[in-house]
Amino acid sequence: MSETIWLIPLIPLLSSVTLMLFGSRLKVSQIGILGVASVGIAALLTLLLAVEFMQNQQVIQLSLWTWMEVAGFAPGISFYFDGLTLVMMSVITGVGFLIHLFSTEFMEKDPSYARYFAYLNMFVAAMLVLVMADNLLLLYLGWEGVGVCSYLLVGFWYQHNANGHAARKAFIVTRIGDTAMALGLLLLFTQLGTLDIQTMVGEANRTWQVGATIPTIACLLLVCGAVGKSAQLPLHTWLPDAMAGPTPVSALIHAATMVTAGVYLIARTHGLFLLAPTAMTAVAIIGITTSLMAAFTALMQTDIKRILAYSTISQIGYMFLALGVGAWSAGIFHLMTHAFFKALLFLGSGAIIHCLHHEHNIFKMGGLRTRMPVTFWSFMIGSAALAALPMTSGFFSKDQILLQAYQLPDIGPGLWMAGLLGALLTAIYSFRLVFVVFFGKANTEPDKDTGWRMAVPLSVLCLLAMIGGWFMIPVSEVFPASDGSHPAHWVEYVSISVPIVGVLIAYLIFYSGRLNIDGLVSSTLGRRLGQFWLSGWGIDWFYDRLFVKPYYGLANVLKSEPIDAIYGLIVAINQTFNHWLSVAQSGRMRWYLASMVAGLILVITVAANLSVGVL
């Protein structure tokens, strides 16, 4: 099995290429089968691999060929497989398979069905390469690959300019992070002479002291990449807009897999981060800040997908917090559980949107509980997990993060409290969503409930969202063991109770209406604040003024080529001389004679050195 690990990314890739080349000639059913089966096979192979790994706990390193070899720079097309990889691969192929299956029904009517699956398969392949890469350059290949697939899929419905805009925004904003990350790669290679992750970490530990400058800079650059890809502050703005893509795409890329690549990157290179405590602190602070910011924003959103998008940002903030405080496995654990429940929620919202004729506004839904039972239960379970209600998968992972954060010296309790606030908000907004959409009176009549191809993935994901918290992720070998100490019990109790309080608040406001916040909302401060949160803290507006507009302005100013003006000036000078001399060429003989005499005088003056006497 270990020798054929390369088949896992290859199969979706081949399927993708096939779909691109021959998609127009295949029947819809064939396309669906090809698209789903390829990922299915990959998932199956991953499963086999997992079984094998569970038995022998053996790390696999497989090098296919040397990508390039220049002056000692010799990254390979080579894979590295350990527990962390396994977790990621399982999520990708497993959740990916479910989402593919879901898509076959969701996208059935779309004329570009083949293109859709081609992109989606391509994405899976790229994502697999990302997580399986043995060196940072190959990881970067996957990293950019998923970026492009994300771009393609966000802008899948290219006829609408807004989608194109969102897609470009997604790509370019993440590219900013990616470029910083590339610089990090350059720095790491220049300093350590390799980009192989394992060798590099080893080399780094030999070369650098903890807290030295260079690893800090390198880690911060990597963090920039992670921040971009995982939509953390300050590069998170693309994610809400990326909801323009088909909903299964949002589920796969913008919830379950790609956006968590940053988390994976930091976890994968944790060996470096341990050398750079400053960077880790930065990660933690970025994480918790993002988490809170996004949670507040999610509270105000009305678009169902945007709520989920901000919630994703918020949840990834938790993962960053985990990474920042050194709770590596908690972070990865949350990554996994989040993949389950957030995919579930997205697919659920997809089902709603699908059945409600592309309605996104939650206040135009309502009362769907009875009409779409499968979806309702999916949402219930998903939201419970998202809110980290006890015994759901989200509970276990988030709990771990908060507890470990608390234990951090100095800023630990602060982080913990902020985390709690976030958890409270999460509970509020997730159940606001549930209450508004599924209870109350119906505003729109759905066509039907979901078909089996949508129902099955939802059900499986429900299950996973429920029980996912009981999984043991095999990463103990990968990360350094935590010290195992536990904080005081009250901390734990508080952590458990906060989400429940949140759900209650949501219930009071949005279901029973006992708690009337209209006054609060309609007060000046409330309105302003609401508006502020709705707009995502004005960050988009701010960026637009600070970067986008000036760049457009610059491009517009330069469009006429100021440099060319210099050459234009040269031309003008020549033309001026031409003009003067042409005027002198008047055709009058007397004038010609005068010029000759003047010339003669000049020549005599110079030749006989007369100027010396005159001057």
């Binding site: 042409s582 060429q585 008047s586 055709g587 009058r588 003989m589 007397r590 004679l593 005068a594 005499v597």
Partner: protein, 104 residues
Amino acid sequence: MDGLNIPLNHILLVSSLLFSIGMLGLMIRRNIIFILMSLEVMLNAAALAFVAAGAHWGQPDGQIVFMLILTVAAAEVAVGLGLVLQVQKRFKTLDMDHANRMQG
């Protein structure tokens, strides 16, 4: 007859004055006939300078060049006056400022 002790530079002074006057005439006159006359003055000035220099060195060469200048002057004037006739015929004027159809 023997020559006299006339300083060379005095003769050259006269010739340069003649040359300059001829040049001036050339530049200010518009009538082609006067222009040709001015040219003769200039050539004559050069001839004077040659003869003087020849006399200065006691060589016949100066006078030979003078003779050749005469020849040149004759030939030029012959053709020049031929052109004058044509100018009068085709331009109906001898004003050279009118002969400026080509310019630029």
